[in-house]
């Protein structure tokens, strides 16, 4: 194992592929359809979506790393439980650290930080990748999938916040004077704030992605 690692470069084409694939043809949200629930829940505003993306990336990467290191020792019968304990511990750590150092953001994310545990991407990547690959590759894979997830979150949140609130990152983008309340013609689309619209946005992204890449279309 150890001599093998020395031969392959730390950040060669294989590792780069682990980062770029989840952003495109192996995107955890749009292609693997993992982590949809939280993608619907936290994308009403841009800021929580970004913090969520960072938190998920950290948790996926570190849990992949730890479980890849432990992979030869884990008793098969309690495999899932062991994974869950590690993930839950990491999520609790993230939540505690946010509470201590980014209190406002942790209040905004409220229950969703705890719900990172239930994000299928994390368990999915541990099962599918970390248990069969080395620590470094698993770590990179975690980063890649976290970024792939975060990318979709940010795209969806961008449109939802813009169309639903007329703001981006809390700053007003669509001028107040255009609103009907101030004599204009524009009205925020309240439906966009609702989770079902996030599903439609995710669906639209999947559509565009499959349109552009025919390989993704099932027979």
């Amino acid at each position: 194992m150890s001599d093998k690692k020395e031969k392959t470069p730390w950040f060669g084409p294989a590792q780069r592929k682990l980062i770029t694939e989840p952003l495109g043809v192996k995107n955890p949200v749009t292609v693997l359809v993992l982590g949809i629930c939280s993608a619907l829940a936290v994308t009403a505003k841009l800021q929580p979506a970004v913090v969520m993306a960072i938190s998920v990336t950290v948790v996926t990467a570190v849990s992949n790393l730890i479980l890849s290191l432990l992979r030869r020792t884990i008793p098969t019968r309690i495999r899932i439980i062991v994974q869950l304990i590690i993930v839950a511990a990491l999520v609790t750590l993230v939540s505690e650290v946010l509470k201590a150092f980014a209190y406002d953001v942790s209040k905004q994310l409220s229950v969703f930080v705890g719900l990172i545990i239930t994000n299928c991407i994390i368990m999915g990547r541990i099962e599918a990748f970390a248990l069969g690959n080395g620590p470094w590759a698993s770590f990179v894979d975690g980063i890649g999938n976290g970024l792939g997830y975060g990318m979709i979150l940010v795209i969806v949140a961008f449109f939802r916040e813009l169309l639903g609130c007329g703001t981006l990152w809390g700053y007003r983008v669509i001028p107040e004077s255009l609103y009907t309340a101030n004599g204009g013609f524009y009205e925020n689309n309240g439906l966009v704030i609702m989770p079902p619209m996030a599903l439609i946005f995710v669906g639209a992204i999947i559509w565009i992605q499959r349109k552009r890449n025919k390989n993704l279309i099932e027979e």
């Binding site: 020792t73 008793p75 098969t76 304990i85 505690e96 509470k99």
Partner: protein
């Protein structure tokens, strides 16, 4: 190396190995989490304390940045004390360090309820009373600032532990809170009414009701109960203070304070005949 892996592979499915592995893992993880929680506790406590002070100040319309909140709090919240259910004031206790949640589990006679008195920059006095109750998923709490008629609400702030974002969690929003401004907690006869949170919308002009949150019925109901129960704890204290601050009407002047208190407690007559709306 090869042999070692082989050996481990066999052991991996044994009961003893599974048990030991699980135990060690749990102990290690628990220790780590405990260390982390203890290490960060002080910082988290400071964050919460600063936030609580900001919330208390915001009920009287003072918004304070996190770094100035401690000085602002000392400046504007001039008096902090505790009262008992029977209205007796204890000036020795700093209301800020009373844990209302703990107090509410004590027997009624021992409960020390916090009161914050704010001296506004324009010289007005506001009385801020904390309330605490249950939402859908966890605790909800808030602070109610009363004008010096001890009846009209000047401002409120609510917070929650884990209400549903977008639904119950909307109680913290300005849109919901601003509805409470100008509502009164005693009716024209001086009976305690609190402020109801009405599903489907409060009648326009109702001085004792606000609109509930659509999709947040249980949180709204919890909030209504919290206000009713929480403010009622202060009823005797507020009654005493109202009499102290406002000249009583002629027909009650002949009564001694004790008789008056007794009568109010028995709810035979309205506690405050000249309540101002």
């Amino acid at each position: 190396m090869e042999e070692k892996t082989q050996k481990k592979k066999i052991n991996r499915n044994g009961n003893a190995y599974t048990f030991i592995y699980a135990t060690v893992l749990v102990v290690v993880v628990a220790t780590l989490l405990a260390l982390c929680a203890t290490g960060l506790k002080e910082r988290q406590r400071q964050n919460i304390e600063a936030e609580t002070k900001q919330q208390i100040l915001s009920t009287v319309g003072i918004s304070s940045e996190a770094d100035a909140v401690h000085t602002d709090f000392e400046r504007y919240i001039s008096r902090r004390y505790a009262v008992k259910r029977n209205g007796i004031v204890d000036n020795q206790i700093d209301a800020f360090y009373i844990n209302l949640k703990n107090e509410l589990t004590k027997p009624e006679a021992d409960q020390q309820l916090p009161v914050f008195v704010a001296n506004m920059p324009n010289g007005a006095t506001k009385y801020i009373l904390p309330v605490r109750g249950n939402g859908l998923w966890g605790d909800i709490w808030g602070y109610v600032a009363l004008n010096d008629d001890l009846n009209t609400i000047f401002g409120v702030v609510f917070d929650h532990e884990s209400e549903t974002p977008g639904l119950g969690a909307e109680i913290v929003t300005e849109a919901f809170r601003s509805q409470f401004v100008g509502k009164s907690i005693f009716d024209a006869q001086g009976q305690f009414t609190s402020v109801a949170v009405v599903k489907g919308g409060a009648a326009p002009g109702d001085a004792h009701a606000v609109d509930a949150i659509s999709g947040g019925t249980i949180t709204s109901n919890g909030l209504q109960d919290m206000l009713h129960r929480g403010l009622e704890f202060y009823r005797t204290y507020l009654g005493n203070l109202q009499r102290e601050l406002m000249p009583p009407p002629p027909d009650t002047t002949t009564m001694s304070a004790d008789t008056l208190l007794q009568v109010i407690d028995m709810e035979h007559i309205p506690s405050q005949p000249n309540s101002i709306n």
